[in-house]
Symmetry: D2
Subunit: 366 residues, 4 copies
């Protein structure tokens, strides 16, 4: 069964393995007339590029993106947009060892169980490199959102036990933080914490937060296609993510109704709310306030320490996974979460155009 | 855009408003030959019935389910199964007042924004009563899972600040707890806590946990249709749920790789894991161990206290929402979470039959 | 696998067997604010009602439709619309005989092959009665089309060898023809032809034509979701239909390019074409001229003559299928074709709203 | 809205324009373990290659296909298969003239109406070159069918008024016929006929027939996802196709029930039918006999003769479309029809695995 196709109105199909020839995505359903260049996409891809700091793998992935279809004279034509990134030549790492056993915390075992065998080179399709296609498609979605006055701000909220302090955050500092943390103090502490774990041949996790501003009210469908449900799937589908929250999320379970309910308020110009515990979504439909999503990222599964596991012959063994890996995924995953949120919002904004007969009538001007 | 249809292979379409004529669901894609009776469905519906304890609304909803199609001589025929529950006559509550303003924490405002007007009687389609169709479909899914040796155990994990203690849990006690809490001590404490909040005209939230046993390894698709992503959407689509976790969930973000990785182990008979922080899913595919999902439920939005809000004329007002409502949704939502998990698992088990050419060849015996 | 759900934006799920308790449909994705009454639906259902002429089965099916959800104060709410028709008590026909063998031309054999057993009463789910749900949903689609200035005119084009003469057609005569043939002379000849075949215990087929006026240009997607492809599936999915054509259809295969190409022409007010061999669709997208579809209907499979077949024990036998059946399906199928065309057009008009960035921007007014 | 994605279980996404950088397809849902090489795909692509006879455009399209993902060590991995064909450098044809007016019979006008502008180079996305992706995906589908013992035989049934005579057909002659006609005499006559029309600066149409052997009974779903309905959409979605028939098709409309019904017959070893007017499908489900599909192809729209049309300023003009084009599409479209049929059958065979509870139980061996 297919699992690499996402969306209803704005549909993306990603493909490619970590160590295959190339990796890419087809975006179908992008409206015509959107200004689009390879540079616009590249800017997003560069945000997930490894080797930029000491906290990400020193592997060099140039990730030079090429648009192969769907754009003519600088604008989208309305037809399928194909984008590709050719994989650079990898050093001749000997994957034949990794092929024989199942790394703890990885998808080696489950892929073998599902498919009978697997492309074991660098994790194949289950590699984080798979997200390249998501980010490329997300860049297009972000461009569409921008045209509709909607913006997304994403960042590392916490790393291990170190969380940002909202009071101390400087939105623009994020570019200076190797961890994408907008609070300079927390960023520094988190760097020290990661270094400590790296010295222990260990890895760490963290939390990513994403805030959407300018979202119109009325987007999302009742029942199964609630906007928060769609966002939960979108974000949870990213490898290594183990939890998703909207608004107060799990903290809401601890509160009482009087603490959790947001009062509506008319400020003389527009309807707003006196608080936003709901995270911008009520009954699965956007209420016009900021949409707030959080995602829990598990610590990187690849660690150099000896670990117990089994090999393909079902023998219990102890392994040391070689190769250099990110001690933390969080900073590089920030743009992936943002991409999935953007893609989902565009899909839902498009779906939202058919809610009312009067607006449809007006659209077709009769 | 449609939002009441769910699933790819096992597809359900729910319909109905809180105070409309009836409420129901069509299940399409159920295989032929499954023994199915109205009693089997009724058993599940009874688990979400209100008025059973002092912690749920004293409204009487008999919820007598009728199967209208798709079953012949006690077995499913493979064609669409239509199920209906007629709504009882409601007391002549005057909803014209509620129609004029937007209740905090409810979907009144967002429905009006989306659709231009709304069925304001009892929340209409955004009412918790909408879940009747989900539970009826979930009962069928559960019957299919049972035939495949898969079982689901769901319960209230916490209410407000009171959590169960796994050591003290008695699986079968759940039926004696008015809160569906398997830990007798926690259940009693939680009852007192809820009573306290009720006395304050307030409401509380909590966490539901769901454990799936007997799931075969290899179920789930890579990339977007990961099993955990699907479960996240399924569960987050239930009204009042604000967060979803798999395995250790948000706690994983605090751990290190060496703490979080689960070692595979061969016990002489089968492959197992020495721990289950992953919650039974690796790379979006089931690994054969228990699948563990948690959902955060917000406190009931309907509280009797005066609250600030606006009316349809955008005037800032203070309202007291009348009527008796559940001070807590959690216990009644347990079976809804279970239903959504069951439906999703069946859909994915069916999708999982086409992963390998050798098994397809064998299926068609050529 | 599910097969009773249709559409992407405007989604219908039908259910029900010929001799089950009831038959119905859920329409999800209907925009809010459409005026809708049970009478509007009933009017369409009455067009497929049997027992109206000597050419249709004298079985009485009252087909009284009830709307159970999705409509409030006379308007659609935007949420799922459930509609049901309860089946009348059938005379105690003994279906146990029919259960034992496979009627030629019917789905008895294929259902048994697919599902292992079947609801043999009156054909079960494969009965023409299944189309009730399609027609009810089609009535809603037709109401939407009307609001957008689009109308559909459908009629019997031919019965056996007798075709209408377009020169002699009187659009309004269709209501006086028991065969839904707009040419009085052809209608009379066809009546005689059918009578002749009835006397021979035989049945006849024919062709239905459907003309859509007022369709805006630009509807339909490239490649797989071409408008003509969607219409072909929609119409071919009706039982007994064996061929579908757009515009000149199979006749186009006999023509040359100079005969078949339609020249565009500007008449001073709007773009039109000097001919319409294409049937209103070019490259899978509507061109603004009339859309023309034709469907070939096979002769009714149920005939009283002795026929060779096999029984469930694989014995070669001769059977005489009892019961009174329509000697021709065509006249009653006219409204079914119309319904499927209407549903498909609405789905495509909705999908067509996201083709251009400028129009989306304007829709969200930013 | 997306239109370049096809299928439910076996999903393909095609992309690319006639004169863009490349053209390709992503196949998602192909089972793991299928032996697959670029040569297997190339063989199919070569069947639609132009420039092979005097009846197809002398343009050279090398169409060298490359597999970029989803295949490892010669076998499919179960993940998305990306295939690409880079477009050769086109001669510097001046498309700026064609950009200014709407060619009769082409999609120029409808694309402009839909999208506001178009990639006018060689028809862009509406070019027949779009079918490259379909054929590449079809080659994979055909390999799967082969493993299940199912074969497809496709050929030109007629060109203009010249039809094959089934009595005189030689299955293997098809490779010697420049028109893919298996009847040597008809092929020769048709060649002369086409030459005559070419001399008149005209083009011709024809009919393609496709016969599927070895299809198991029980494939197809009731109601909307009937196998014939799916095939109708699949085939009608190919550019230039204006009609689709199953079995006797439109001829069935002329017949009586006694002529049209196929008697089942047990030959001592298996169930068969004494005739196959139904074309192998009853009630939308395969009956085990040959599936027969026919498609009407319109004459090539591009002809050198002067034709009336309008330009972008709505001026009525006379144009002569330059460039060399195929005087007939039929022979090259044969493999495209075959590809769409193969893709659809695979999708339906996969969907067909979940019809019966007993078979699902057996599959999961519990």
């Amino acid at each position: 069964m297919s699992g690499s196709v996402y969306g209803k109105s704005f549909v993306i199909s990603t493909w490619g393995e970590s160590h295959g020839k190339a990796i890419g995505v087809v975006v179908d359903g992008c409206p015509a007339g959107l200004a689009l260049t390879e540079e616009m996409i590249q800017e997003y891809l560069d945000r997930r590029k490894p080797g930029q700091t000491k906290f990400s793998t020193p592997r060099k992935e140039l990730d030079r993106l090429e648009i192969l279809s769907g754009v003519f004279e600088g604008r989208t034509t309305g037809t399928a947009i194909s984008m590709v990134v050719y994989n650079e030549n990898h050093r001749p790492y000997d994957y034949s060892i990794i092929a024989q056993f199942y790394r703890p915390g990885h998808a080696d075992y489950t892929y073998d169980q599902k498919y009978g065998f697997r492309d074991y080179r660098g994790g194949g399709r289950s590699s984080g490199r798979e997200t390249t296609g998501r980010v490329a498609a997300g860049a297009i979605a972000a461009a569409i959102l921008k045209e509709l006055g909607i913006s997304i701000y994403s960042y590392t909220k916490s790393i291990g036990p170190i969380s940002i302090d909202y009071e101390k955050c400087q939105k623009e500092f994020i570019k200076n933080s190797p961890l994408n943390m907008p609070d300079p103090e927390a960023s520094q502490k988190a760097e020290a914490y990661i270094q400590e774990q790296m010295d222990n041949q260990n890895s760490v996790g963290g939390i990513i937060e994403c805030v959407v501003s300018g979202m119109p009210a009325g987007i999302g469908q009742p029942v199964f296609d609630k906007l928060d449900a769609a966002l939960a799937k979108a974000v949870m589908s990213i490898g290594a993510i183990k939890g998703v929250e909207i608004g107060d999320g799990f903290a809401a379970a601890l509160n009482t109704g009087s603490q959790n309910n947001d009062s509506f308020f008319y400020d003389g110009e527009k309807v707003t709310k006196l608080s936003n515990h709901a995270g911008g979504i009520l009954g699965g439909i956007s209420d016009g306030s900021d949409i707030i999503i959080r995602a829990a990222v598990k610590p990187t599964a690849s660690i150099a320490r000896p670990q117990r596991t089994i090999n393909k012959k079902n023998e219990n063994i102890v392994v040391e996974v070689q190769g250099r890996h990110d001690p933390i995924i969080v900073p590089r995953a920030v743009v992936v979460v943002e991409a999935m949120v953007a893609i989902t919002l565009v899909d839902y904004l498009f779906q939202g155009m058919t809610s009312r007969m009067d607006k449809i009538r007006e659209f077709y001007r009769r």
